[in-house]
Symmetry: C2
Subunit: 460 residues, 2 copies
C-alpha cells in the first residue's frame, strides 16, 4: 500500500540504500540522492575501504529486507585472526569457541550494488546520482544539490534522512541551524591508513589463507589483510603520521617503503609485487570518530556514519549502520508510522549504543596492534575460547557479545564485556584461577567476579 509521506534520503551508500529499500517496501515515495556516480557503472573505489567485515548485526538488516540469501553469496567467512610475526610464523586466534560464529569479508561495492539493484525494482523510489548536497533547509524540509553541470536542483520532502557519511552535509546544516545546543565531536587518531593488495597467485588462487583476517601486529603500527571474491586480498597499512623510525610523513621514497616492509612485514612484502606503485598511488586517509547529539532536528534525522562515524577496528561500522535501520524500522512501526515521534525516540535510544561501539572500536585498535605483547591478555583469550567451546550457552567474550550476539545492544555488550575482561584479568593477576580446578569452577569464579564488578560500578 502506498503511503502519503514523501521521503528524501541523502546519501546512497550502504546505510542510505538499505534504508531506502526498507522504506520503499513500506510503501513510501522516496527520492534517494547520491553525490557520486552509480558505482555499478563506474569504478569509484579510489583505493579506500574496498572490503568490510560483515557480521550478525549487519545480517539483521539484510534479513529485514529479505536479502539474507543473496548477501551470503557475497560473503567470505573468516574464522579468526591469523597473526604474523616478523619471521613469518603464523598463529590462528579464533574469534569464538563456537564453530558457527565467524565474520565475513564482503565487498563494499558488491553489497551496495545488491541493495541498489533491489531498490530499482520499486517504482516508488527515484534514484539520483551525481547530485551533491550543498545545504539542507531544515525549516522548509528541503535540500539544495548541484549536478555535474554545476546547476542547482532543490528537492523538497515531508521528511529528510541524512545518510551522507562521516562528512555529512545534513549534520553540518543541523549544527549551523541549531547553534549551541548541538553537541558534536570529531576526534582523529595519530594514525592514518592506506589500502594495498595481494594479487591472486599465478594459478588464480589466494596468496594466503582466505579463511582468516590476517594481522601483522607491530606494537604501534600494523598491517591487516582481508580476502576478496576475485582471490585477491585487500591489505591495509595502519601507520602513524609521525614519530617512530617509519611513518606516513617520512616514507617518501619507494626504497624506504620496501625497507620498512622488509623489516616489519617480510612475508607480506613477498606477496606484494606492486607495493611501491600502490603505496604512492593510493591515498592516505585519516581515522576519525564523529559523535553528535541530537540526531534529529525538525523533520530531519541523521543515521549511520553521518551520526556516528567510528574507526574500523571492530569491523562494526557498516554493521552498526544496518542495525540503525533495523532499530529505526522497529521504532517507526511501534509509533504507528509517526515520523516526528520516531525521530525523537530513535535519536535518544540509539545514541548510547553508537557511543559504545565507538569506544569499543578505539579500544580494539590498541588490542590489535599490540596483539602478542601481553601475556595476561593471551591467557585471558585462551580461557575465554575454552569457556565458549565447553559452555557455549553460558559464556560469550566481549568480542562475541559485540559481534555475534545481535540480540543484545552494543551498550550492554560493552558493559558486560568490559566487566568480564576486568574480572578475568583480576583473577589471573591474583592467581585466583587455579589450573587444577575444573573449567566449570573457573567459569563460576569469573561469573561471580563479574557480578561484583558490575555492582561496584553502580556505586561510582
Amino acid at each position: 500500500m502506498q503511503k502519503k509521506e514523501h521521503i528524501l534520503i541523502i546519501g546512497a551508500g550502504l546505510c542510505g540504500s538499505l534504508l531506502a529499500l526498507r522504506m520503499a517496501q513500506q510503501g513510501y515515495s522516496i527520492d534517494l540522492v547520491e553525490k557520486r556516480p552509480d558505482l555499478r557503472k563506474a569504478d569509484i573505489s579510489a583505493g579506500r575501504s574496498i572490503n568490510l567485515a560483515f557480521s550478525d548485526r549487519g545480517m539483521k538488516g539484510m534479513k529485514l529486507v529479505g536479502l539474507e540469501e543473496k548477501v551470503t553469496e557475497l560473503c567470505i567467512p573468516m574464522y579468526g585472526r591469523m597473526l604474523h610475526d616478523r619471521e613469518g610464523n603464523t598463529k590462528l586466534s579464533k574469534y569464538s569457541g563456537r564453530d558457527h560464529e565467524y565474520i565475513n569479508s564482503i565487498s563494499r561495492g558488491g553489497l551496495n550494488a545488491l541493495l541498489l539493484d533491489e531498490i530499482e525494482q520499486f517504482e516508488n523510489v527515484q534514484l539520483h546520482f551525481n547530485l551533491s548536497c550543498k545545504e539542507v533547509d531544515l525549516k522548509e524540509t528541503k535540500a539544495v544539490f548541484t549536478n555535474e553541470n554545476g546547476e542547482e536542483i532543490t528537492l523538497k520532502a515531508d521528511y529528510i534522512f541524512g545518510t551522507d557519511g562521516a562528512g555529512s552535509v545534513v549534520r553540518k546544516s543541523m549544527m549551523q541551524q541549531r547553534d549551541f545546543l548541538f553537541s558534536f565531536s570529531q576526534n582523529f587518531l595519530t594514525h592514518g591508513y592506506k589500502e594495498l593488495s595481494f594479487p591472486a597467485t599465478k594459478d588464480n588462487s589466494y596468496a594466503a589463507d582466505a579463511g582468516a583476517l590476517h594481522i601483522w601486529p607491530r606494537g604501534e603500527n600494523m598491517l591487516i589483510a582481508l580476502p576478496n571474491l576475485d582471490k585477491t586480498f585487500t591489505v591495509t597499512l595502519f601507520l602513524a603520521y609521525e614519530g617512530g623510525d617509519y611513518n606516513f610523513n617520512n616514507l617518501t621514497h619507494p626504497e624506504m617503503v620496501k625497507e620498512y616492509f622488509q623489516k616489519e612485514y617480510p612475508d607480506a612484502l613477498a606477496l606484494m609485487p606492486d607495493l611501491a606503485t600502490e603505496y604512492f598511488e593510493n591515498p592516505t586517509a585519516p581515522l576519525g570518530t564523529v559523535r553528535c547529539s541530537p540526531w534529529t532536528y525538525r523533520n530531519a534525522l541523521i543515521m549511520g556514519d553521518a551520526a556516528h562515524a567510528i574507526v574500523p577496528f571492530y569491523g562494526q561500522g557498516m554493521n552498526a549502520s544496518f542495525e540503525d535501520v533495523v532499530e529505526f524500522d522497529q521504532i517507526l512501526q511501534a509509533q504507528d508510522f509517526d515520523f516526528t515521534e520516531a525521530f525523537q525516540q530513535f535519536s535518544k535510544s540509539r545514541k548510547k549504543d553508537a557511543d559504545a561501539i565507538a569506544d569499543l572500536a578505539l579500544d580494539n585498535f590498541h588490542e590489535m596492534k599490540s596483539h602478542t605483547a601481553n601475556d595476561l591478555f593471551l591467557k585471558k583469550r585462551k580461557l575465554e575460547i575454552a569457556f565458549e567451546t565447553e559452555f557455549p550457552d553460558e559464556y560469550s567474550s566481549k568480542y562475541s557479545l559485540v559481534t555475534f550476539e545481535e540480540g543484545i545492544s552494543y551498550d550492554e555488550a560493552l558493559q558486560k564485556g568490559r566487566a568480564q575482561d576486568h574480572a578475568i584479568l583480576r583473577l589471573l593477576k591474583n592467581n585466583q584461577l587455579k589450573k587444577d580446578e575444573t573449567l566449570a569452577t573457573q567459569l563460576q569464579q569469573v561469573q561471580e567476579e563479574t557480578k561484583v564488578i558490575l555492582e561496584e560500578q553502580e556505586l561510582l
Copy 2:
C-alpha cells in the same frame, strides 16, 4: 630587557590579561586585543558569570606576576558548602579538614581590572578594545579585526596567542586551516543557567552567611549563591531546558517562576525581591565543554577557555586558565624562549590536565545537584574530613587534591582522587571499615585499597 619577538594576544579576558602581563614582564612587545569595551569603563557583565571561585591554582598565576597581595583584597573566603533543604534547614559541608584550605568568591570584573591596570604600566604593551577578531591567517601570522565603525584592521606578529574564550575565533581558524587532523568537540548539558541575586539587607549586610558557597541541591536541578564584596550574592539557577515539572522552556510567566521557587527554594525566594524581573531580563546560557587537539598550529597557540572550556561545577575554569599561563611560562623558560618548541610542548603536556578538569567538572555537577541523596557518599565525605583533620599530611580528598594541592597536576588529582573514592565506597559497601577500629587503621585500609585499585587500572 626588551626581547625582539612581537606578540599578538587575542582576547583580554582573565587568561589573556594574565598572559599579557607575564609576557610584558618578560620584555616582549605585545598587542593585546579585546572585542568588548574596556570593562573598567563600561558595565558589560550582561547578567552572566559575575563572580568566580578563586583557589590555589589561580593563586599560582597571581604569584607569578607578583599580585598575590592585591588579589587577596578582592577575595571573600568560603569554607564549605552550605546546604539548604526545602524546609530552609542548613548544614555546612566543609571543603577540607584543614583550616587553612578554603576557596574564595571573587568578582570576574574586579580581577580582570586588576590585571589590566597592571598591564597599562608597561610601555611594551599596546591595549586595544572594541576590536572584534574576524579571522586569523595562520600562514602569515596575522589577524583581521573589525572596529566599532566596521572598519577592518590587520595586526601582524611573530606569534599569536588565542585567549578568546569558548567561542574562540583563533580555534575556528585553526580548525578550518588544518582540516581533518584537528580533533574538536563541543558538548552541551541538557541544563542551562541563569544569574539572579540576593541584594544586601537594609542595614547593608549580607542576606546569608558570606563564609560559604550556598547550595540548594534538588536532584535534577539546583540553585547556588556566592557572596560579592558589595554585600550582595550572585545566585545561579541550574535548570534543565526541558523535562520535569519546571524547566527553562516552560517557566514563561512570573507566577510560574515564583511557584517554582516557592516549592523548591522558599528560603532563597524570601531573599529575592527582584526575582521575576531578573529572571526575565537576564539571559539563559548553555553549559558546554569544549575540547580540541592540537592547541597549536604554525606560530599560534590557543590557551584557556579557547582550548578547553569547561562547565563551572568544580570552580576551576579560571584557575585552570591561570595555571595554563604558569605552565606555559615554565616551558618557555625551559626551552630558552623558543616559542615554536614551547607551543608544541605545552600543547602536548597540558592537554591531559585540561581533559581531567573537564571530566571532574562534569562529575561534580551530578554530585552537587544530588548532594544529600546518597547515604554512602555522606559517610565517605565525613570520613575524609576526619582523615584530613587528624592526618593533615597524609590524606587529601579528591576535592582537596584538585582545589588545594596546586603542586600536583589535574590529571594526577583525578587518577588518585577517583581511586580513593572507589576504595572508600568499596570498603563502606562491604562493611570492611569497622567503626571500632582507630581512624589511623581506617586510613591505612583506605590507602591499601587505593593502591590495589590503581594497580588494577594499570592492567585494563
